[in-house]
């Protein structure tokens, strides 16, 4: 059980990092990588939401995974899980940690409703076997975001410096940089189409 959890978590942090392997959540990463506190804040939010929602996704997949129209209904059901978790967590934070609520309320929806979170549930559903696998992929996606976020954060000043042509400064050069990091990571696992 622990081995299944650990292998799923390690895979999704390094070899199947959702940013480098599947480009999930790149727009959020580029936004977050400007400040260290943002990288940490987004990582905490992602870890929390992907880990907890993967438990509910596991239950849902187990109960209805074999249904004929499950592939069509899954996104709406996963969004419902994420929405319920988001709302209940936000109410709890607002009730018990009022100062924290004031700090996070402006960007918390960006942390929760993005393709990295929804994508993590689909990756868990495709690759995770049993609850430990789902949990491992859920937590690993969040921690993988931290790895990618930190790598982008340390390169951020140079990527936005005058060394880079004006048209490429900001998003274009960051996307190319993520592509080069992804290429380096592919060297460990070999070429494979991302789907």
């Amino acid at each position: 059980m622990l081995a299944s959890f650990m292998s799923a978590a390690l895979l999704s942090i390094f070899l199947q990092n959702s940013i480098f392997e599947r480009a999930l959540g790149i727009n959020i990463l580029i936004y977050a990588a400007r400040k260290r506190s943002s990288v940490i804040g987004f990582t905490l939010g992602l870890c929390y939401i992907t880990t907890l929602s993967s438990i509910a996704a596991w239950g849902l997949d187990r109960a209805y995974g074999g249904h004929e129209y499950y592939a069509a209904l899954a996104p709406a059901l996963y969004i419902l899980i994420i929405g319920v978790l988001y709302l209940s967590s936000l109410i709890a934070v607002w009730r018990f940690f009022h100062n924290l609520f004031k700090k996070i309320k402006k960007f918390v929806h960006l942390t929760v409703f993005n393709c990295a979170v929804l994508g993590a549930l689909f990756i868990s559903s495709q690759s995770g076997s049993g609850l430990p696998g789902y949990l491992g992929y859920g937590l690993g996606t969040g921690l993988g975001f931290l790895v990618a976020g930190f790598l982008l954060y340390v390169a951020h000043p140079r990527l936005n410096s005058e060394l880079v042509p004006l048209a490429f400064r900001g998003m274009p050069i960051m996307v190319i940089y993520i592509g080069i990091l992804s290429l380096a990571l592919h060297a460990f696992v070999g070429y494979s189409a991302s789907i």
Binding site: I79, L80, G83, M174, I176
Partner: protein, 219 residues
Amino acid sequence: MEKNKQRLSDGLVRQNIVLMSGIAITPVAACATDFEKSLSLSLGFTIIAFFSVLLCRFIPKRIVYTIRVIIYALIAGLVYIPAYFALNAVFGEAATAELGLYLPILAVNPLILTKTETRFCLRPPHLMTIELLGYIVGFDIVCILVGTLRDIMVNGRVGWMNLNAGFYIPAFETTFGGLIITGAAAGMCRAAYNSHKRKRTEKAEKEKQRQEFIKEVIQ
């Protein structure tokens, strides 16, 4: 009429969601690996984004954004259902399955969740529709262009048409290939746009100087 053109071109070029703002870069970089896939991805995006934003407009503003954003995402998740069946009918189940998780994640696209709030809902319905179409067509064009380019470089063909290009770069089928191509395309698009903008400003300044000169001569 001129303003409508400008609104349309806003989403097409100036605020293109793939090349300029990068908010919808993920599906293009990772999934538009050939012409057919890019075509089905574009159709999926068109259906999901268009109908979701139109329906989201009916959500009352009295509801706080914290809850509205959940409703927006849920609406997009529900619009995904007919979109999924439409894609199955048009391209076949196998082609839709090839899109993998990149089709369902379109439901949480920032165009639906953020732009609806900050842009589309602030406009009257007809202007909103024009702007929305601009954004969607902007995505579709970039998606199909990237897919076509990768199809040529990876398979030496465009869809069913064999080009016998003579060179093949299989690495462009991967995510890193997609990221590098899309990033480079974004940089070039920005450079072209900046150059066009600079030229237009220079032309306007020259015209202004010419008008002033004419005025002085007349006086």
